[in-house]
């Protein structure tokens, strides 16, 4: 099961990230996970949030926002856990575009967000290997 990630186009100048987060704060949105990819001119803010619609409504006035399905894998916070997942993708020649991690509130839980080129295939393979992935309601419920 995939979850919805929002990405926002931010210019790489001082204060743009702060401004975007201020907008989200004012909208009462909680960010579960976040990563920023940047070039000299611009950055892409990627976030997993408590309320997708509210976030889009808050940001979309002047900001380019895009939804992307990504895979969030729950794993034990121990050595080699991520490697196991990546080995499966490697064997199936599934390309990982980018990856970032966040921790759960319960001790010992870790989550990794993966953007892959072949989403459906990746989901099937993970299911076959009994690896649990999150869906949007997991994220929403978790943050209630």
């Amino acid at each position: 099961m995939a979850i919805t990630q929002l990405s926002a186009f931010l210019e790489n100048t001082s204060g743009t990230l702060c401004d975007a987060l201020t907008t989200l704060t004012e909208a009462g949105v909680n960010i579960r996970a976040l990563s920023v990819a940047d070039t000299k001119d611009f950055g892409i803010l990627r976030i997993i949030v408590s309320d997708i619609e509210k976030t889009k409504a808050a940001l979309s006035n002047d900001t380019l926002v895009k939804e992307t399905p990504v895979i969030a894998v729950k794993m034990n916070d121990k050595t080699g856990a991520l490697k196991e997942v990546l080995s499966i993708f490697k064997a199936e020649k599934i390309n990982v575009e980018y990856v970032y991690a966040f921790t759960g509130s319960a001790q010992g839980d870790a989550y990794v967000v993966l953007r892959v080129d072949e989403l459906e295939k990746a989901e099937t393979i993970l299911a076959q290997n009994n690896i649990k992935t999150l869906n949007d309601s997991d994220i929403t419920d978790y943050l209630k």
Binding site: Q5, F9, E11, D41, I44, D62, L64, K66, E97, R115
Partner: protein, 434 residues
Amino acid sequence: MKRYYQPEVETASYEEIRQIQNEKIVKQVRYVYENVPYYRNLMEKKGVTPDDIKSVDDIKKLPFLSKDDLREAYPYGLLGTDLKNCVRIQSTSGTTGKRVVAFYTQKDIDMWEECCARAIVAAGGTEEDVVQVCYGYGLFTGGPGLNGGSHKVGCLTLPMSSGNTDRQIQFMMDLQSTILCCTPSYAAYIGESLAEQGYKPEDNKLKAGIFGAEPWTEEMRQEIEKSLGIKAYDIYGLTETSGPGVAFECEEQTGMHINEDHFYAEVIDPKTGEVLPDGEKGELVFTSLDKEGFPLLRYRTKDICILSRKKCSCGRTHVKMTKPLGRSDDMMIIRGVNVFPSQIEAVLLKEGYPPNYQIVVDRVNNSDTFDIYVECTPAMFSDIIADMQAKEKKLNLAMRSMLGIGPKIHLVAPKTIARSEGKAVRVIDKRKLH
């Protein structure tokens, strides 16, 4: 097949054309002097009277008219006859302030349409043809001009106007259009749309296209010719002089014949106003020779071009102009290369970018920097950096192939490029060259 719409004029000898022009200019100058106080004032300031104008060689004595004059005289200040004698108004888009409005008597309309008819016949048009006009109809001169020209030739005319590409394609296929008239970018778009719908170039009945109203390159011509399976002809004109059809391309495709029996063309040095000999690059200036509603003497088009009297294989004798090579008011020289913002805009549009951009030129360590800022669109935005960078790279290469030098491309957030009076400031030249 008829090769010329008005062969007696289109293939007249140089001397015959000169004689027509000389007779007309004497009358036109007197007409303007007597009917247009605004221009009479300009003539008086320069100490010129109608008696001083005995042939087209004397045109250089006349004062210039510029777009500023047209704005100042808006709306009726350059009108050449009573409004009751006029039957039509056409207008420019007016992106830099007040619109330009031009007035036409029925005779003016007939002359304009005959010029367009010459262009259609030069593109192979006969009464057997179905002409699909997808220039805009209305105040814009494109639709009405080609529509009228098509009627004059006796073609079956499809007055489609612009937009609704699916309907354009349906009519084109069902009613077997043979000549397409629109902007070159729209022709390219129709070509792409046809391919997307699974049509091959040979599936349509088109044989020719008459494309104008915006700058386009030789590369674009080849692309359009290939995608539609046609021969693509350029056409030139401006609302101030009448509309499209002031000049048009023939089968030789090496420049556009100016309809010299109606419009006298000069190329001048835009800085000094001095008339340049044929073959030299300068600003194109038009003098109407037989207009009634909106006669303009020595109107500076700001279009830079070259005139040529080289013999043309099509048999037409009228002087040819190159495609506008830019404007006299906005050319930049960057690292020794001439760059026109219009070229940059053409590349952006061709590459699917919005026309919201800013060009910044600076000089750092005695070397020019050249940056283009483009507003990112939802279609361009990706969550993957590499995709975005690939787009920047592709645009850089397209710019390099068009301009000869590669700018640095910067994608910026929507609505961030400064606008003044609703229009973006296109060029910021930080170099102090003058």
